[in-house]
Symmetry: C2
Subunit: 281 residues, 2 copies
């Protein structure tokens, strides 16, 4: 029996088919209004469905932002679950953006919720934060590897407020971000010496050290937020992170509505963004 | 019309009545099994109810750990919501431990989910992480203040893996933790010059710098995890954080089952832990 392909294998295949564009689902009140949808869990689910159907499920990775579903309490979380199930049933890889993180059995409980065989909210990958130390995330890594999934650790965020902490110096002289890159790469190499491993990273394309950060993560996929509505273009991303060619996933969220919110308009916009995103390969 | 009491006012009143003990609800598979409950969302809710009823709702603060509910997907999140509603209906303050964190509209979306007037999962306070910078959490602080709620920022975690990052030096010479303490205190003083403000902190009692960290947070409540099952006692907490007298909330989770899992046994254990916790006042 053939082994199940890893998350990285599946994602690479999808990227070849559909470009590395990561489609973000961020149903804010403003976004739902612009789509003529109710500001409710139902509206959020309907928005996600509209995007998936507009793209005919032909995208490399879908990134729902948990916060925009959690704002509706448990009915929002149920809408998130339904959307994730719909995407995965059509073989669209789902990267859940929840920036979870904790230690010990609590970290294992999160991992169970998103990677176990029994959970109803199984995803392909999840974002995490590492304020408690990268090693504290081991239960996430172990569960992701067991499930052929992935974990994306936030290394360098795109907002200016994050820089002071992320570039603080540890006692060995490395910055926090450099230390994370080294530790992530060591784990990826152990798992997959000759390719892309299970631990990806989130790196804002606008950070001063974006390219050196991506260069220090040679075995990782890199999610690059902030393309489109936040001003950066696909060419900006490539210019700022040339070391990431073939591994960078540019994320667009609000920008998928740049040409209108009807299904045909979203379809055209996503196709155009995917064309542009191929420049990153 | 009298102003709504702030989170800090309400918590201080509850502490006077019931001691500063924070009762954690961490329904792991092992814990549910030891209670004879099914390892399901229903079991998790039933455990939370059993604890609340055993204590006759007479506790200063209830801290459900989101991860142990998220492990059941959306049905777990629904169980969490029901538990939170039950506790708050009986005026038990709820501190949701989810360590959320993000930037901009995403941070605002989380804040909406837990503090808005319309959410079904309204809590009194929430834990956050600040890998993206404390200032990125402003939407949480603003929403908490508007709702007379609180935000507990993880400053120093109890696990050894967190130390290198949390004590890294920023360009101004401060450690990450010291910088957070200064920024949290400045915000609290602006909000409440003469008492405890809306921004609390999580500080592991076993950290080397626990007391100096707590001393640098004179306007904050401090959640101290790890009492009981992880080995520390109430007297250890006091000995390690004397600067926090009157402001430290010792958290017990597994230890509430130390004398058995039946309602009467839990009742006796919580009463005994509350007696011990009064030493922190």
């Amino acid at each position: 029996m053939a082994a199940m392909p890893t998350f990285a294998d599946r994602l690479q295949q999808k990227i070849r088919e559909h470009s590395p564009l990561c489609v973000g689902i961020d149903p804010s009140a403003a976004l739902l209004k612009s789509c003529g949808l109710p500001d409710s869990a139902e509206g959020a689910l309907e928005f996600g469905k509209r995007v998936l159907e507009a793209a005919d499920f032909r995208i490399a990775v879908l990134k729902p932002q948990s916060a925009f579903f959690e704002r509706f309490g448990s009915s929002g979380f149920r809408a998130l679950e339904t959307l994730v199930q719909l995407a995965r049933a059509r073989e669209v890889p789902v990267l859940l953006d929840g920036k979870r993180g904790d230690i010990d059995t609590t970290a294992a409980a999160y991992a169970e919720g998103y990677f176990s065989a029994t959970t109803t909210l199984r995803v392909d990958a999840i974002t995490t934060h590492c304020y408690l130390g990268l090693a504290a995330l081991e239960p996430f890594f172990a569960a992701a590897i067991a499930a052929d999934g992935g974990v994306f650790v936030v290394v360098r965020s795109s907002n200016p407020e994050g820089q002071a902490l992320q570039t603080a110096r540890m006692s060995n002289g490395e910055t926090v971000a450099q230390s994370l890159c080294r530790e992530i790469t060591a784990r990826n190499v152990r798992q997959r010496p000759d390719g892309i491993g299970p631990i990806g990273a989130v790196v804002g394309a606008t950070c001063d050290d974006a390219n050196e950060t991506v260069a220090a993560l040679p075995h990782s996929f890199v999610l690059a937020p902030g393309v489109g509505a936040q001003g950066a273009t696909m060419r900006d991303v490539l210019a700022r992170m040339p070391a990431g060619r073939g591994r960078v996933l540019p994320n667009v969220s609000r920008a998928i509505l740049a040409n209108g919110s009807r299904r045909e308009e979203i379809k055209t916009t996503i196709a155009s963004l995917q064309d542009q995103a191929r420049a990153l390969l």
